[in-house]
Symmetry: C2
DNA sequence: TTCAGAGTGTGATATTTAGCACAAATTTTT
DNA sequence: AAAAATTTGTGCTAAATATCACACTCTGAA
């Protein structure tokens, strides 16, 4: 059976088994339990995580104490504070497990090393970065263009599983509406 | 005097004069007048533009006919429909000149070619892509966290020149509020 | 099983914002 | 210089959303 990470990378770039083993040697596995965190505000994100199993949120608090979800993470997604990781600067956000999680991570140093050692991975991450940017652009488009109700429907359509796994108030926070308003959107 | 594009690229990667000349040979200059367009919805963005002089907007229309500004472009910025350019797919957006413009552009093919021929430029664009993604992430953060008034103040602080160059209704559209609401934010 | 905490739905009200109308100011075109 | 078009501010009203309050459900721990 093919390793899920190999499968994931091969959606973009074909790999020999040896190449994949080499890549994998730059990663470590880690297990985290529900409510544990991967990153806290003020820390420097020195790892990028690939989610084998589980569900996570990246979020931050407004001065008022209101929580805003920036991103959810589920199986086969990457998660980190991208800004902190790239710039090696202090993070503005937190990342927590919503469920028990199995994660593969690569450190900043290992990723730099791997990028230099293996041009295929430089291309892989370049492409990932491009697609990530496109996804963010479309989220902005949606925030500008669509009503709350429309954003709710689009999210439900795109990630139906998310609604079974995470509390609605987190969905509300991701969409940028209050939980009460979200609760009333269906009626 | 150093070419402004050389100066721009050297903020990320140092270049010899020969290297820069080689890079520049992949670009063409084009002049456009106010109200002319660079890209229309449905076309494929086959060029990426670097703005030597002038001001532009990338935007799209809601079904209702409401205009939403995705991005402004001014001197030393790049502009294109990133999604369409990267995927070579049909664009959802339009790009118009708000002022008379002088632009340098590189075609998709030339950029691919240059990326392969010159590893420094692969790194340059990878870095650009990363920073672009971070900027978009921060815009989402701001859309979730800040009130209209706060977003207005932040934009004014970051790009004061923009407010002298483009009509307020376009600023409103960029911030995601109606022009009437924007007009009332200061009082 | 029981109990505490988290999650959820809904009424009432306050706040924010949009949308329309119109007049004044400014810019562009002829 | 005059005319036309665009931009801007502001009063008014309607719609969307936030906020507070409270009851009910569900889940996990003791």
């Amino acid at each position: 059976m093919k390793h899920p990470l190999k499968q994931h990378i091969e959606e973009i770039i074909k790999l020999t088994d040896e190449e994949f083993e080499f890549i994998l040697s730059h990663f470590e596995t880690i297990y985290k339990r529900k409510h544990q965190y991967l990153l806290q505000k003020g820390e420097i994100a020195d790892k990028e995580y690939w989610i084998v199993k589980g569900c996570l949120k990246s979020y931050f608090f407004e001065e008022s104490g209101k929580e805003h979800i920036l991103q959810f993470g589920m199986e086969n997604w990457w998660i980190t504070d991208y800004e902190s990781f790239v710039k090696q600067s202090k993070s503005k956000i937190n990342i927590d497990c919503i469920e028990d999680c199995e994660l593969l991570y690569i450190t900043f140093e290992n990723r730099e090393k791997l990028t230099k050692e293996m041009h295929k991975m430089e291309r892989f991450w370049a492409k990932k970065s491009k697609f990530g940017r496109i996804a963010l652009q479309n989220r902005i488009l949606s925030l500008l263009k669509n009503s709350s109700k429309e954003r709710y429907d689009l999210l439900l359509e795109q990630y139906p599983k998310l609604f079974q796994r995470v509390p609605k108030k987190l969905i509300a926070s991701y969409l940028g509406v209050s939980r009460e308003t979200l609760s009333r959107l269906n009626s």
